[in-house]
Symmetry: C2
């Protein structure tokens, strides 16, 4: 068996603290290729670059172990995975990791997340794929509340098991980590129902435009649930939501067929 090959990306760019910590934590597990955006791509979701070419270059950075191959890419997180797959990696990867994102991607934020966009792309390519994000409260910075060594060890241990055993077809993992020093444990849970509101702040400008900055307030619509990603995080656990790339709402099919039969 070859040494395991691990592809790592993110949406905060290769210079972010989170991807560097993740890379160092899993470096002992195999050959590591980091193919990450050259800057911030927060909120990129599964976006692809359709109207301009995308470029990449191999670079060196002191925060990465010497054994790691590091590539900076001008595109989105999904572009990074697609470029790595077709043009960079020497063989099929045994694991794709995306993160550690500076901020959570729990509940419906999974849809906006560039971190998770890369994970969905890996899953579509049948690579066992895991997105990892850090649950920070508003105003907290990763550098002040980094992922603890104890938690990074638990992540590396989980990665080792996923390399050995794989993941179910069309399923990837959305992991959110707490900031606690001591790792309390994993909870496998479902995506909480949630909603963003009050999402725009007026941007004063000299041109008289209707211009706005995206912001917003998140509401957990199931604050009393015990089985969601947010309930796990509130209790101090690391949440694991198994996520499917088959978005079909099978249980709604009958109702839609009835709707079609209505006059």
């Amino acid at each position: 068996m070859n040494t395991p090959l691990i592809l790592i990306t993110n949406d905060d760019g290769y210079a972010a603290t989170g991807i560097q910590a993740l890379t160092r934590a899993v470096a002992p597990l195999g050959d590591i290729f980091v193919v990450a955006p050259d800057g911030a791509r927060s909120g990129a979701a599964c976006a692809i670059t359709a109207t301009t070419p995308v470029s990449f270059r191999e670079i060196h950075h002191p925060a990465y172990p010497d054994s790691v191959r590091l590539f900076a890419c001008s595109g989105t997180p999904v572009d990074c995975v697609k470029l790595a797959w077709d043009n960079i990696l020497p063989r099929t990867p045994d694991l794709l990791l995306s993160g550690i994102n500076h901020g959570d991607n729990a509940s419906v934020s999974v849809h906006y997340s560039g971190t998770m966009g890369a994970v969905f792309e890996g899953c579509m390519k049948e690579i066992p794929s895991i997105g990892i994000s850090l649950y920070l409260h508003r105003g907290q910075r990763y550098e002040e509340y980094p992922v603890s060594e104890d938690t990074l060890n638990a992540v590396a241990s989980l990665c080792r098991r996923v390399i050995e055993q794989g993941l179910p077809q069309d399923v990837c993992l959305n992991i959110n980590l707490p900031t606690a020093h001591v790792f309390r444990g994993w909870q496998v849970c479902r995506q909480a129902r949630g909603r963003w509101s009050a999402e725009w702040a007026s941007a004063s400008n000299p041109h008289g435009l209707n211009a706005f900055w995206l912001t917003g307030h998140f509401t957990d619509l199931e604050p009393d649930a015990q089985d969601t990603d947010f309930s796990a995080l509130r209790a101090g656990y690391a949440s694991i939501v198994p996520v499917t790339i088959d978005m079909t709402a099978f249980e709604a099919m009958n109702q839609i067929n009835e709707l079609l039969r209505a006059r």
Copy 2:
């Protein structure tokens, strides 16, 4: 009861033929607000604009009925929905439509689609939301193979029923239309398993960069299935996939718990 309010957006921009045809087709159903990107946003997925302000302005365009309010937005399709919701619409919309996209969004393309990104956003805001795309073969242009009047009538009829009856919680619709002149009917189906490959074409450039254009070849991994969006389209039907914004892979939870118990 108020006149129904319909919000329309897309990812090809307000000047695209598809959104104009859709707007004219549903204009008799209610008050119409079009809030669409000011240019192409293909492949935008659920991307949001996180690092710059987003602006919008009301405009007039001869392809839209006089009764329609039309707004051009500098952001992504999801930004359009968020801006409309917070800053443009006079009341809660009864229906969100996105499209008609120039090209299909069947199978896993649902993940990259800016058309469907806007639909997921509407669904998160509990608006009954429908994405509509046209299944074109490679090299075909919408203007040469437009959606037929017969098909547009069927779309408008479906929209009327969704306004009256709503959609299940957290479920939206991903519709793909064939180009046939005569509308053969709807098929409620699931998302086909599929894969994009050979996704990059080298971009010659004077700077010696590793630069590539995104392209690719799509493979339907279930060519013999009878219940997928692509099987419906191949048979000449319009496909309706009910899509859930809850991406939890419930059936994989036990397996992930077993993985965690492994050493």
